[in-house]
Subunit: 126 residues, 2 copies
DNA sequence: TTTGCCCCTCACATGGATGTGAGCTTTTAG
DNA sequence: CTAAAAGCTCACATCCATGTGAGGGGCAAA
């Protein structure tokens, strides 16, 4: 039988995403990343998994917890009328949190720039 | 003798900054925040400490470790020719890291917006 | 003096993602 | 067929800022 979506095993997914095998298993444990199991119990992923892993990483790096991401993913997989008010609200909340965080970081970057500027100026007086 | 800078104790600094007493002691342990000790061993801070604590928090929230902040602070306290090349480079490095991070977060926010938009659209079809 | 609050140190706990290693099975390449 | 490479599970370790609690001192108001 020909594989329609040539499945990859965990090592390959790890290589393609740059995410450790350990972490991929963790994502599964947290309900973020599904896998088909072969008879012998090995995980197999379709090509879409690469994207999904990237998404998960982005969310993590934006400060969302695995729990939160788990709540969001269904809305991504099947955006439908089933999307509860709660989930929608949750997304908006996270978005706002992220926005505020970005603003904060921009200010922090300015602080750093100023700090660097001041020090460069002092160096120039050598 | 009149106190020129009326010193505050740790509880007050905590209140003014919103940072826990525990954390303030931790900052000191990490060499980020100095304090004068009274005879009985109690910490006293001058008004400038409030600003410094705020700065530390910003750096932390920008992902710098206490170690890194400790390396940066001398450049803030005494920007002078003594500012080593290494320190300056370090600052620039952190600035760039932060910049890259911000860009990433902006993209992530866009992802979230799109996700929210898609779901709202589906809700509208109810 | 007693009561109450703040401070001190020490040290163990927490959370969340990830690292690491043991012990064992499956797959693959020679 | 055999050995290397890759998977599996389980479970303990790590990092880092912070929480928490024990046990005890300092100091002001009643």
């Amino acid at each position: 039988m020909v594989q329609v979506t040539p499945s990859m095993r965990i090592g390959e997914l790890s290589r393609r995403t740059g995410v450790s095998v350990r972490s991929l298993r963790y994502y599964e444990e947290q309900g973020l990343l599904a896998s088909e199991r072969s008879e012998s119990g090995q995980r197999h992923y379709d090509a879409a998994a690469v994207e999904r892993v990237a998404f998960i990483q982005r969310m993590f790096s934006a400060g969302l917890s695995s729990r939160t991401v788990a709540d969001l993913l269904p809305c991504m997989d099947r955006p439908s009328h089933e999307t509860s008010d709660a989930a929608l609200e949750r997304m908006a909340e996270e978005r706002d949190r992220l926005s505020a965080y970005i603003v904060e970081l921009l200010q922090t970057r300015d602080s750093l720039d100023e700090l660097i500027g001041t020090n460069r100026a002092h160096r120039a007086t050598l």
